[in-house]
Each structure stands twice: as C-alpha cells, then as structure tokens.
C-alpha cells in the first residue's frame, strides 16, 4: 500500500480514536495540571509524529499541510475552552489558513511539491480523484446556496443593565430617604454573631433574630416564588420571567451592593428602573404597594443573614485608614 495513504489513515485513525476514546478521560470536571484538554492535544501531536517517524512514512508536503490545517480546526473547535463565538472562530481559522499557506510556500521546492498532486488531479492523471472532486464541489456549492437562501429567524438579542445607577433619594410611604447615607435601622448588631442562631426559636431571646425571623417570613410569603427557597434566583416561577430573578447567593448581587440600594430596588421594583434595565419586562413588584417600610428593611436584613454576605460599606465604615481630610 502507498505510504502516503497509510500516513493519511494513521492521521484519521489517531484523531478519531483519540476523540472518541481519550478525550473524555482528559476532560474531567476538575482538570489538573496533567489531565487537561491541552495536554490531550499535545498527546495527539506527539502520537502523530512518533508513528510517522517509526513507520518511516515521510508524508508529502500536501498531506502535511492538510494535517496541520485540520489540527488547527480541531483545536479551535473542540480543544480551546471556553468555546469561542463563531465570528472569532472564523478569524482564527483565517489566520491559521494563512499560517498553513506560509508553511507550504516557505520555498519554491516545497510549494511545487505541494502543487504537484493538485495539478495531477486537475489534468486527469489521478482519474478517480478528479471525478470525485469535480463532481462533489458543484454539489457542495449548490447545497451552500440553498442553505444561504432558506429564511431563518432567531429572536433579537437584548442587552440590559443589571445594576443601574440608583437615584440620590427615594420616597417611600411618604418619607424621603437619602440613599447615600441611609442605613438599615434593624442592623443593630454584628451579623456574624447570629450565624448559629435559630430563627423562630431564638426570636424572643434575641432582638436581631426576631427581625431576621420576621424578614424571612416576609420573604417566604412573597419573594421565594422568583428568588427561590435557596435565594439563588431559582424559585418556582423563575423560569417564566425574563430577565431572570436575581441570585442573592452569587457574589455579583447583594454582596456588592449597599443596603440602601436594595431598599430602593425593593421599594420601587421593575417599574422604578431606568430604560436601560428594561423596566417593561421586570416582574419585580414595587414592594411599597404590598409591604411596609419596616418589612422591607427586615427582609433585606434576612437576605444578608441567610446568605452570609455583608452589605457593601464605604469610607467611614471601612477598617482601613485612608487619607485624612
């Protein structure tokens, strides 16, 4: 059998074998320094080189070019993680194709050698190859045209600002609050002291836990439908709404916000959002319609107690000494 053909078979076989058999082993849930997808890719390359050397296959430059190009394709498509968007993929593959072309045209001789099988195919010295290629290409072109012409629709992508800038003041139940300075009136003690306390059971012994219990009661009568029993934004109606409800366990929500910001968001809800935050589809009620001011502060207190996060604080509350004014 022709050595070039063997080399081609080795390439295809290695790639298929590795992808089906070895790839799952190298992509565990928690990759290590050795067992990861990039090491896996290097293994493929090493295998290909070693097999070709041991069998003395000496593949021609055109096959080498094919192998190099295909491995690039495989890398960007399956190995690189996280997966890249297709526009970026196209850009990378263009660069990779140019690189492959540079590799084959590095000097006159390699380029001629690369061209040789192609020319032979075109002028009909490789008869079967010419029939196959010349028949397949027009069919592919026709199919591509069909694909391009058939109408396809996808809903428009919508972007929104998750945490819009709050106003300076907000008016709730007839009283104006300055968000810059407003504190939670129920934060009467250090939260961490109560992490081992029991809601309900300790409510009559500890003032703080009484407030947490009342806040939790409000939460589990009103909020859990969207924000979830676990406060992770996966309540029983959460899948219905778009934008999806906030996940308070995530470090990107209440953990980086001030309590006064939450007070504003809870009181005014979806309708209180600016346009960049799509107020028209937010299912967050303006809670001032359903709850008292005290209940709103208590439910905020509860959310921090439950998740263990601390509200964000500024300057005078910080423990690091800064420049004195």
């Amino acid at each position: 059998m022709n050595k070039t053909f063997i080399s081609f078979l080795v390439f295809v076989g290695t790639l298929v074998g590795f992808h089906m058999g070895v790839f799952p082993i190298f992509t565990p849930k928690e990759p290590t320094w050795v067992i990861n997808r990039y090491v896996y890719f290097l293994c493929i390359i090493a295998t290909l080189i070693i097999v070709n050397i041991v069998l003395r296959l000496k593949p021609p430059i055109s096959l080498n070019a094919l192998v190099v190009w295909s491995l690039g394709f495989y890398f960007y498509k399956f190995i690189l993680y996280p997966p890249i968007p297709w526009t970026l993929f196209i850009t990378y593959m263009m660069l990779w194709s140019i690189g492959t072309f540079l590799f084959i045209s590095q000097d006159e001789e390699t380029f001629r050698e690369f061209r040789k099988p192609i020319v032979k195919m075109i002028i009909g010295e490789y008869k079967l190859a010419r029939i196959v290629v010349f028949a397949a290409l027009p069919i592919l072109v026709g199919f591509g045209t069909y694909k391009a012409l058939i109408p396809k629709f996808q809903e428009p992508v919508e972007l929104r600002t998750v945490h819009p800038a709050p106003p300076a003041t907000t008016r709730v139940h007839g009283k104006t609050y300055t968000l810059e300075t407003q504190k939670n009136p129920y934060r009467i003690d250090e939260q961490d002291k109560y992490q081992k306390s029991f809601p309900f059971l300790d409510a009559d012994k500890q003032e703080y836990m009484k407030n947490v219990t009342e806040g939790g009661t409000v939460f589990f009568q009103n909020c859990h439908y969207c924000h979830g029993d676990q406060l992770n934004g996966l309540g029983m109606f959460s899948h219905v709404f778009n934008p999806t409800p906030a996940n308070f366990v995530d470090p990107g929500t209440i953990a980086m916000l001030r309590e006064s910001f939450l007070f504003w968001r809870v009181s005014k809800g979806g309708p209180g959002l600016p346009n960049e935050s799509t107020p028209w589809s937010s299912a967050m009620p303006p809670w001032e319609e359903h709850l008292t001011t005290e209940q709103i502060w208590k439910v905020i207190l509860f959310e921090y107690w439950y998740t263990g996060w601390h509200p964000r604080t500024f300057d005078d509350e910080s423990s690091i000494v800064g420049v004195k004014e």
Binding site: V141, G142, L149, P156, F220, D229, H239, T278, M284
Partner: protein, 576 residues
C-alpha cells in the same frame, strides 16, 4: 433450526432458571426494621433545618411554615410520617436513602428545590435525621411495630434511544406494542378515573390529601412536574416506582398486587409516551420557553377548524426529535410558553392552575389575516358565569412608537405605552367537572373582548368595531384549544396593533382559571416573547442552487484548460 416445542422449551429453560433465581428477592423481600435516627447528627441537622427548611415545613414540621398558605401543593407535614417518594411498600416509612434522594433532588413541580447543590452530603444526612425526629405519630426507632419492605422494580426491559440533547436523556424508541399493552393496563385499572382519558389529570375534581387539603392528579403530559422524577423527567422508572409504592398521604394507591412488574413497566411506557420531549433547563427543571413564535406563511385560506390537519403539530420538539415519517402536517412545531402566577401588581395569584401554553401560528397574505392557536391544559373548567375561563394575547398597542427593545409594561401596559389585548372568555357547554371522560370534548361559548391597557388598574374596552375573532375552540380531556384570527391591518389605527410581516413583534399571554376565582389582574402570565410572520420560501431556492452549481462546473472546465495550457507552455519551453 425448525421451531418446535422442544426448541422453545430449550429457550425457556434459562429464563425459568433466571426467574427462580430472582423471584424470591422480588416477591418475598424480607421485612426489615426502619432506618433508625442517628442521634449524633441531630444538633447539626437542627442547624440546617432551622436555616433552610423551617420557612415552609414549620417549627414543628407540621408543614405550616410562613409560606404554606400561599403554596399549592402545600409543604409536607412530617408529623404523621407520611412520605411520598419511597421504595418501601405503601403506608410504610421511607428508607433513609429515599429521604436523602428527595432532599438532594427536590420535588419537581412543587416549591421544594434540589438541596444537593447547596448542602454538603453530611448536611443532607444530618437534616434528614433531624426530620425523622419531627415524626410524632410513629417512630423510626420503633423496631417492634414498624417494618419496611423494600421493593424491587427490575430493570427497564428496553434499550432506548436517548436522543441528541447534551446531558439529557429522552428514553425514546420503546416498542409500540408495549406502549399499546400499557394502554390496556391503563384502561383495565381505571387510571383514567383520576388521571383523565388522555392523562391530563382531569379525572376527579374533589380529591383531598390526608390532611383535607385539595390535591390534583398528575398531568402525564407534563412529566417534568412529576414529584420524585429525580431530575430525569423522561425516565419511565419514576412512573414504575410511583405505581408500585403509591404516594403516601395522597389518593394515589399502590398497584403492587394488581399489576405485575412487567405490566407496570408497560404502563409506564404508555404514560411516558404521552410526555412531549423538550429541552429541560437543568437549573429550573422546566422546559425552556420558545422565545420566538414563528407564524407560517400559508398560501390560500387557513383552515378555521382546530381539528384540521393544517393545525397538526408533532408532539416532540422538532429541533431534537425528527418528525415521524407519516406525520401529515406542514406546521413544524408548537411553541412552549411558560406561565407563572401574576404575583407583581394588585390582587396577586400565588396558586395559578396553568403552568404553560402551547402556541402555533399561520398567516395568509391572500386573506390578509393571521391566526394564533393557543392551547393549554386545565384540569377543570368553571361553570360560573361570574368567573369565566379566559385566555388572552397581549400586543404593544402602538408598535410604531417603540424604539429598539422598548416595550409596554408586561402587565397590562403603562401610562405612556398602551397594550392591545385580545381576550377570549368562555364557558363549556353541558359541562361538569365530575363528568366521566368525554372523548368528543365540549363546545365552548366564547365571547371576545378587545381591551386597551394603560396599566392593571387602567383597562378600557374598545368601542371600535370588533376585529378579533375566535374561529374555533374546544375543551377536550383537560385541554383547551382556542383559535384566534385577526386581519393584519384594521381601520382603527389608534388602538389596534397593525401587524407587519417579516418583523419581530413583541407578544405575551395571559390566562384566567375560573374555578380558581381568577379575574382581572389575578391570573397567570407570561413574559414578553416575539412573534414573526415568516416570509414565503423564495422561488429562487429552486433555480439558484443548480445555476450556481453549473457556473462552478464552468469554472472547473476553465481551470483544467488553463492548467493544461500552462503545462504545454512549460513543455514547449515558452515559459520557465
């Protein structure tokens, strides 16, 4: 080999041997004492319980936490020791492993979330042991009066096709003969008395659980809501287990004696075959909403009957499951629209009866009209003309005034951006919820309201001539189908939406269950999705591909000619 009695006997021999081998373990499983309470874990379990569970299940485990009144189904009351999801015989206490599995996977279709991702293994075991101590009427430590018989369910007897959705199993390709046999078991055991003639849970409106709270039978066509479906909703095992053990505390009995294990698997195959295959979101355990409702371009007139083949849709999502070869229709899909209670403004609805709608659409340029078929499952309809059932399609009233992604407020619009609502109110004729399954279904008396919304408290009925029609409707075996029609353009440009083709139009849906006393803003609601009136497939699709292919063949010929000429020039020394 000729088939004769002897060869059959030879074939049967290993089967019989196998049967003898497995029989004792399946039928005569030895009773064992219940899994006792691990006392050393109680302190830790209490800590977890009072942080995570108390809000629904209550301080003493009576299922009476603050959330209970506003939940359907209510949280479990632990005091009597009745647990739904078990592998033990009906009425018995569960295994510790059963409770652990329930806590870890949650109970789909209820408010019980999967705790496996939040709590550690140790915490789960600890809280399960604490919950055991909340059982007052029986005891997990009582080895004299309590025993548990662990059931064996055998293996799924088919090799199935798991489909193409990454990370999700579809359990397709169970032989039709077994599904049909399962249907026979379904009829013989009268499952329809509670679950309805087509399994939508519409059999019995008067059921109560052990504590006297109303309860409904499972809707088999929404298997992602099966309790104990272990985040693997299409697995027939879930059904086999429930049939075998019953659901303690509910009217669902066990059929361990009445139905053999083999037949239970067949019955499960039948039940399972009713559930449409969709991509199920891993986090919420619900199908993913189809955010784009495509309206199919239709030449000539659109059929005005809900039973017309024009309105046929395949059961499964065609993106993942190829349509059956004998599927007659041209409509490719119905779109899944998730619904939730309207819990945002005014009188809120915490216990909606409808969880989703399916919407399909066609439009006809010849008729200059668009049709929307809205269908949904509702177990029981209203008989009260004060509280009619209703479903509505909501549109932006002034599409031309919306900029970019801007839309009116999704609950009845807002003061600046009005909405146009097409609402169909209806009562079923000669209907009573206690009627036996009726294969013909019930005709509906429909009246259409067209409403302009400027907010939930600012709704006005249009005074202009009616433009929206409901051309056909039916309520059959727990499913409502309403076919809306409207011309694309109307004379009243002020408050009627004018529907353009080939552009994305926001649309949303609302639904009222009369039996649940839903009215006005007390309803189920969807978020904004989009619809598009698709253009026809261009004629060029038939002639352009061959033309392009021919051009390419010409190019190939030119390439050959050029290459040969160049070679000749080299050979003759004209080029170097």
């Amino acid at each position: 080999m000729k088939i004769n009695k002897k060869s059959i006997g030879l074939l049967m021999l290993p089967l019989i041997l196998l049967g003898v081998f497995f029989l004792p373990s399946t039928v005569f499983a030895a009773p064992q004492p219940p899994d006792g309470v691990k006392k050393d874990l109680l302190e830790k379990g209490k800590q977890v319980y009072f942080r995570r569970c108390v809000w629904c299940h209550g301080v003493e485990g009576g299922g009476d936490g603050p959330s209970a009144e506003r939940l359907f189904t209510r949280p479990r009351n632990f005091i009597q020791g009745t647990f739904k999801i078990r592998r033990t015989d009906s009425g018995e206490l569960p295994l510790e492993a059963d409770l652990i599995r329930t806590v870890k996977n949650g109970l789909p279709g209820s408010a019980m979330p999967p705790w496996g991702e939040v709590l550690s293994e140790d915490e789960v075991i600890a809280v399960v042991n604490f919950v055991k101590t909340l059982v007052q009427d029986r005891s997990f430590d009582d080895t004299e009066d309590e025993e548990v018989n662990v059931q064996e369910f055998g293996q799924m007897p088919w090799s199935v096709d798991q489909g193409q959705i990454p990370g999700q199993k579809l359990y397709l390709g169970i032989p039709q003969a077994d599904i049909d046999a399962g249907r026979e078991v379904f009829i013989k055991n009268k499952c329809f008395e509670c679950h309805g003639g087509e399994g939508r849970g519409d059999g019995n409106p008067t059921m109560k659980d052990d504590w006297g709270f109303p309860i409904v039978a499972a809707d088999w066509q929404q298997c992602w809501n099966f309790r104990g479906s272990r985040r693997d909703p299409y697995n027939p095992f879930n059904i086999v287990r429930t049939i075998s053990t019953g659901l303690n505390g509910t009217p669902m009995p066990n059929f361990k004696e009445q139905i053999t294990v083999e037949d239970r698997w067949k019955l499960a195959a039948f039940v399972n075959s009713l559930c449409p295959r969709k991509k199920i979101d891993k986090l919420t355990n619900k199908p993913v909403t189809d955010f784009l409702i495509s309206s199919l371009y239709t030449e000539g007139e659109v059929a005005r009957s809900v039973d017309d083949p024009m309105w046929d849709t395949p059961d499964h999502d065609p993106n993942w499951v190829t349509k059956p070869k004998d599927y007659p229709g041209t409509l490719n899909r119905k779109h899944y629209i998730a619904m939730g209670g309207q819990i945002t403004r005014g009188e809120r609805n915490f216990k909606p009866k409808v969880d989703n709608l399916w919407v399909s659409s066609r439009w006809s340029p010849d008729e200059k009209a668009v049709y929307y078929m809205v269908e949904y499952h509702n177990r029981f309809l209203s008989q009260d003309s004060e509280y009619k059932d209703a479903v509505a399609i909501q549109w932006p009233g002034k599409l031309q005034d919306l900029y970019g992604a801007e839309k009116p407020y999704f609950i009845f619009g807002d003061s600046k951006k009005p909405v146009d609502i097409w609402k169909a109110n209806f009562l079923a004729q000669d209907y009573s919820p206690t009627n036996p399954p009726n294969e013909k279904g019930y005709k509906l008396d429909v009246s259409v309201e067209e409403i302009v919304g400027h907010g939930y408290d600012a709704l006005t009925a249009k005074e202009t001539a009616p433009t929206v029609e409901v051309v056909d409707s039916i309520f059959k075996q727990g499913r409502v189908k309403i076919l809306f029609r409207r011309s694309l353009e109307t004379e009243n440009k002020e408050t009627d939406i004018q529907i353009p083709s080939e552009s994305f139009i926001p649309v949303s849906f609302m639904q009222w269950s009369g039996r649940n006393k839903e009215k006005n803003e007390t309803m189920a609601i969807s978020t904004w999705v989009y619809t598009i009136l698709e253009p026809p497939i261009p004629d060029s699709i038939y002639y352009m591909p061959p033309i392009m292919a021919l051009i390419f063949i010409g190019l190939e010929g030119w390439l050959v000619w050029m290459t040969k000429r160049t070679r000749k020039m080299y050979a003759e020394g004209k080029a170097k």
